[in-house]
Amino acid sequence: MMVRLINRIRRRIGGKLLLAVIPGLLLGTIVMLLAFLEYSHREHAAALKLRLDSFAVTQSASLVRPLWQFDSATVDQLFHSYGDLPELLDAQVLGVDGKVLAVAHGRDPSGYQQTFRREVPLVRRSPDGDYVVGRLIVVFHDGVVRSEEAEQRLAGISVLIATFVLVAAATSLAVRRLVARPLRRLRDSLHHNAATQSREPLVWHGDDEVGEVVHAYNQLLSEINQHTRDIHRLAYQDALTDLPNRRLLEDRLSHAIVLAERQHRAIAVLFVDIDNFKVVNDTLGHKLGDELIKVVAERVSNTLRMMDTVARWGGDEFVILVESVASSGEAASVCEKIIEAVGVPINLGNNLLRIGASVGISLYPQDGTDVTTLIKSADLALHEAKGRGRNSFHFFDAGMNTRALRRLDIEGALRQAMQLGQLELHYQPKIGIASGELDGAEALIRWRRPGEGLIPPDEFIPLAEESDLIVAIGDWVLREACKQILAWRAKGMGDIQVAVNLSPRHFRQDKDVEAIVAVVTAAGVYPRLIEIELTENTVMDDPERVVVLLRQLRNRGFHIAIDDFGCGYSNLGTLRKLPITTLKIDRSLVTGIEQHDGSAQIVRAIIAMGDALGLRLVAEGVECDRQLSILRKFGCGIAQGYLLARPMPAAEFEQYFHANHGDAVAVAPSLRPALARSAPAA
């Protein structure tokens, strides 16, 4: 216990100081005390002897006369009074014949160690001569002195202990306050900085040595900080371009691979090389060559998202890490952007240079699952790109390369298609099952590409959805539908509601809704004539936002339909909140309605639910009478499908309309048999 306490004290600086100071202090004080006690003892002894002498002398003077006069009473009285003398051991007076005449004993002669004896002859001086009348013998003891000294010693020791404790406490406090606490703070700061890998300076007030140490410490920290930054930059950054270097890229790539693996995402690694850089370098000099690399680095960096990494691989080579690419197409478009950015003429030392860049692309996980392989693959792809003609990009995987090219081709063509009027809308009528009447039409996009004929939406819409092109397409469709509505109306066909499919990208921001409203308003069409179709997935991406946006549309009067309902994973709770007007039952359910009892039950449930929520129900893809009759039996309101009418261009739709719904009341004759067949036997 004691040892542990001492060890604990020893470990602390205050304790060390105390252990160093206290023995000295103790020794000094003890020596002082001993010296004082010795001195005091001598003083006391001397004083005692002096008292003894003076007592003996005065008493002998007092005793001579009574002895002379044989006045034993007075002698007795005198001796009697001696008893009060604390130092007296005993005193006696002897007559001239040696007989003891009087004796006095000390009252309480205890605890003495030493005695002091005085013998004084008692001499009567008279004119007739000197007569020795007796002898006085006084013996003093040092008991009183001893007890005084003992008290003094006790007091001295008490003072010593008190001083000792006070000095120890004061030293301890002072050390703790002036040294230990500051040092502890310093230590804690060191520990903290070490533990958190940070270098937070220590806030300090005080300009003593500790303050200086702390100041130096803070300076050291900031220097270390600077050095660390420098080291980091040297280690991970390219000195010329300030881009991450090879090492940092590899680090980030390996990190990205781990993330991508966990999140099942793809990564693209782009290996970029400036075309004919050697020529530039040789003709313009290294300095301008470096300048060129810096410009290229800057342009490439500006092209990319913040989260992507551009690294200088060495020479005129850059490696770009594009995290979480959705498809190879996205990677390809990044390459295109890079090539485009680099391709902008550069003013370099009064020379206007036009340079190109080649890019090799490798994708995780297809082309490699580790850093080395991915980079090697990208490098190989780069060489392939160079081999096939510079200023282009190439995928490591050949099939992907083809698809990417095709996609880019389509994407580029699609942009032009809108301007060239190659896109057109076909309309598929929706027919009320009970009435056989036309109940609006769905606008479906078609791409009539010269030389290729009509390209189905399945082929280009998904591509368009990879970029904002889909929004432009959506807008075009909306505008076109509005124009058509107005045209039909002008032709006396009345107000035909048209359903328009919009992609999830239309529902990302508030202003997307405003754009929709603006288009419709500008066209001068009642919003109620527009039914916006969106898929379950569009809603479920971000239900809360979409609900808000849809509500805005619904408030304007737009009708809203959920497309392909039944094949997604709609949250029925969310569905209830949606301000929708129509549910379109997915064609897969309708197709299966006569084969699998399960589909029929689902369709019936959907219909029941739609009825309960007061929604219009449209069955898509109705292709045979039996489907229609079952749908009728289930109480589905509207049908859409080849059985009733194919999607058709506007002109064809007009003919169809006039043929079937020309009176706007009668049911189309061609439809009648179908409706009649599916009708229950009356």
């Binding site: 006069q69 009473a73 009697h80 001239v96 014949d97 008279s126 004119p127 007739d128 001569g129 009348v133």
Partner: protein
Amino acid sequence: MSYVKRLIWVCALLVTLGPGARADDFPAVIHFGLLAVRSADEVQAAWAPLLVALEARIGIKVMPHVAEDYAGVVWALRAGDDQLAWLGNKSAIEAVDKAGAEVFAQQVYPSGVAGYASLLITAAKSPLKDLDDVFAHAGSLTLGIGDTNSTSGYLVPSYFLFAAHGGDPHRIFKRVVQGSHEENVLAVVDHRVDVAAVASNHLEEVRKTRGGAAPMPRVLWRSPLIPGDPLVWRRDLPPSLKARVRDFFLEYGAATADKPAATLAEERGNLARLHVLRFVVSDDGQLAPVRRIELFRDRLRLQSDVGLSDPARERGLAEIDARLAKLSDPVPAGEARR
């Protein structure tokens, strides 16, 4: 003195005095110690005729030595500086006890009495008849008494009279008035006190001064005689010298067959100057009354000493009592010789 006896004496002296001591080894000079009861010159002058006569008688030079106090004579005797001395009773006790002296004669007062006494007196017409009467009615009587330090006025009556009746006169009597001898005598005469203790010589003096103008007080009690002042010698003086000295003093002022009348008258004249009628033989026994009184005083002091422990007091008292008992002769020598 036969030859054999003489030889024995010589041998005894040789043994006691050591080599060189002879029977006729008289001191060359005799120093006579005198108390300075008056001035030293007066005392010396008063004693000079006697000493001259003594010198002539013993054939040794006699020098007076007037000490400045009583003790001076005792210490001189003790040291052998004085061989003869005239002392008081008290100092004679010290001389005898401590200085190796011996009483060989005492004075007789001019009145023919060899001492004085302490008296208990009452008014002439007082109804008190005797001591028994006094102590029987002590509870209603007022006592006049001397100073506490007065031997005859306080000590002597305390010892001889009151000690037997309880000790402290303050407890015995209704009231105690302290005063001088004269005052006490007059207080009795004037009936201010019922009884008073006084010294006999003082009563005589009052009687003389009043000259019978008023009836003198009656004496109810007379103490034993306090002997007159003694003459002492060193005990180690040669017996023959002692004999001569003693003979001288006894014969001085006494009518002897071969002394002329003129010489006798002169001697008496010389003695009268010393307030002495004559000297009579005495011995250490004469000191007994004063010893007794001294011891009694010691006893009183012991009893009243509050600082003394009880055992110490008991021890002291026992010692004093033993010494009192040893004073086998309860009757003072002087009184016996009267």
